[in-house]
């Protein structure tokens, strides 16, 4: 695992990834275990009508009468995207800004490795790490669905997990890019976190404010979650998330290449 920077970076993430994976499996397990008792509620539909209209729309509550709709409302409308975003931002800021603040970046740079090579290997490790968490989500969804008869197809589990990976990776790349441009971990967290919150606010506000409806497609949350994500298939709008991620890294690259590298602080 020390053969190159990509593997070393993955190695650095093995503990975090293991912990997050365990948490994710437990979360899916608990929600799935709830499903049989929810579906057995005799007057579920009447109960749901009691919710205010905006809430019903936001969490797509009408669909809760199916297992897939239940998981969309409970996990995929906010909790899972937030978890994937937090995971990816947490890894993303460490890749360059974290090494720079720790003081280990200098030695990495004074090697035959170029700044572009360094950034791309770090990016690859981030992508693999977030994808691995997505794979854990996929497997636990399929497994739990079978165990508790939630009724999530493997295809739906795959596209739902992909949506989480893509929205997480986009924000992780933003954190990586801001960290590479500024060398400051705190700033990278702030910027990436703010963009995530802004994206969510835009997504939600557009549900209620007609004037904002046209802007909604700009939100990564819309791109990842609209009409699902479980059961929404593989919409073309997914492509915006990896495109944005790549664009962010491409913007960061020349700046990182030219700027001064800070000493440990």
């Amino acid at each position: 695992m020390l053969g190159n920077l990509f593997l070393k970076t993955l190695r650095d993430q093995r503990r975090g990834l293991t912990g997050w994976s365990i948490g994710l499996v437990l979360l899916v397990l608990v929600e799935s275990a709830l499903w049989p008792s929810v579906s057995d509620m005799p007057n579920l539909e009447q109960f749901l009508e009691g919710y205010p209209e905006p809430m019903r729309e936001l969490f797509n509550i009408e669909a809760i009468t199916t297992g897939q709709g239940f998981m969309n409302a409970e996990l995929f409308s906010l909790l899972l995207p937030a978890l994937f975003i937090i995971y990816a931002i947490g890894r993303g800021v460490r890749l360059i800004a974290g090494e720079e603040e720790a003081g280990t970046l200098e030695i990495l740079l004074v090697t035959p490795l170029s700044t572009a090579g360094l950034l791309l290997q770090k990016l690859a490790a981030l992508a693999v790490s977030v994808a691995a968490l997505g794979a854990v989500l996929f497997v636990s969804l399929v497994g739990c669905s079978a165990a508790f008869d939630v009724g999530i197809s493997a295809g739906a589990a795959a596209t739902g997990s992909l949506a989480m990976v893509l929205i997480g990776l986009e924000h992780g790349c933003l954190a990586l890019a801001v960290g590479a441009i500024t060398g400051r971990r705190g700033l990278a967290i702030t910027v990436a976190g703010s963009v995530a919150v802004a994206g969510y606010v835009l997504y939600v506000a557009a549900l209620f404010v007609d004037a904002m409806a046209d802007l909604q497609p700009l939100s990564p949350f819309y791109q990842a979650l609209a009409d699902g994500p479980l059961g929404a298939g593989l919409p073309l709008r997914f492509i915006w998330m990896p495109l944005a991620a790549v664009a962010l890294v491409l913007v960061a690259l020349p700046v990182f290449d030219r700027r001064d590298v800070a000493t440990a602080r």
Binding site: G103, I107, V110, P112, V261, T263
Partner: protein
């Protein structure tokens, strides 16, 4: 043949502050070059520009004839670099760390690292996070030397090392030079540089105030020596000795400021019964102020 290191009119500005004001250096290959100056003079800034970690505001810097900006990655291939504040991954052992760096630098597995570690007394199986400051500095030295680079750029390399290890380190530097490598090392302690360098440049407030051979420097270095006598110090005789620039006394102790060799001073003082001699390491700022400033 290109000099190993050359800078011309190297300037670095941080916001309003000018850290380097037109530094010109020329370091021939196969030389140990001491880069001296008080803290904050711009030593680290120069070194980081040479290592390709900072970009100069203006001027040129070259290593082995290659521009450190335009050909940075090629330059970095040939450089061993020890930062002023060296930090390695605390969760790795020395062995893992050097294997990782060896892979990054494309080195074949060899006995070089264990040999260097043994000479410096570094335990390769211990996690770097649990090492003392001095032992972490040894890790930094090993990583700078392990790929036998043509140019070694070392920022305050002996900080935190005990005297025995310092001596071993200086031996490594001499061996590297004897093998034709070029060593550029910074320090704020004259004696450390005197012991190993062939040529010294003194930096003050971002400018090189003098570049000369260590032998010349020793001739001109101004030191303060306290001589403790058995009776009243013979002030007049001491003042007359060659190289003495100033003499004051408190009780039985004469405080003598002497330039260059101390042979003559000691010859004059000895017959008067000297019980103790304390020599003070010349402060660089003092050398600069006391000697070079009037000559400029």
């Amino acid at each position: 043949m290109d000099p190993a290191i050359r800078t011309s009119a190297l300037t670095k500005r941080y916001g309003k502050r000018l850290a380097l004001r037109g530094v010109d250096l020329e370091v021939p290959a196969g030389v140990v070059f001491g880069y001296l100056g008080p803290n904050g003079a711009g030593k680290t800034t120069t070194i980081k520009i040479l290592a390709g970690l900072l970009r100069q505001t203006s001027g040129r810097s070259e290593i082995l004839g290659m521009d450190t900006v335009a050909e940075r990655d090629r330059v970095q291939r040939h450089v061993g670099y020890l930062p002023g504040e060296f930090v390695a991954y605390p969760d790795l052992t020395g062995d893992q760390y050097f294997r990782f760096l060896g892979n990054l630098r494309g080195l074949p597995a060899s006995g070089v690292v264990p040999r260097l570690a043994k000479r410096l007394g570094l335990d390769l199986d211990q996690r770097i996070g649990t090492l003392s400051h001095g032992n972490r500095q040894k890790v930094g030295i090993v990583q700078a030397f392990m790929h036998d680079p043509e140019v070694l750029i070392l920022d305050e390399p002996t900080s935190g090392l005990d005297p025995l290890v310092q001596r071993e380190f200086l031996a490594l530097v001499r061996e590297a030079r004897d093998a034709g490598r070029t060593v550029f090392l910074s320090s704020h302690v004259l004696s450390e540089v005197e012991a190993v360098a062939d040529v010294v440049a003194i930096l003050s407030e971002g400018e090189v105030v003098v570049t000369q051979s260590v032998d010349e420097m020793k001739q001109q270095a101004v030191r303060q020596i306290d001589l403790v006598f058995t009776s009243e110090p013979p002030l007049a005789a001491l003042r007359g000795a060659a190289g003495v620039r100033d003499v004051t006394s408190t009780g039985m102790t004469a405080h003598v400021v002497v330039e260059g060799e101390t042979t003559e001073l000691l010859r004059v003082a000895a017959p008067h019964g000297v019980t103790n001699i304390v020599t003070h390491e010349p402060d660089l700022e003092e050398i600069f102020l006391a000697y070079y400033a009037p000559a400029r």
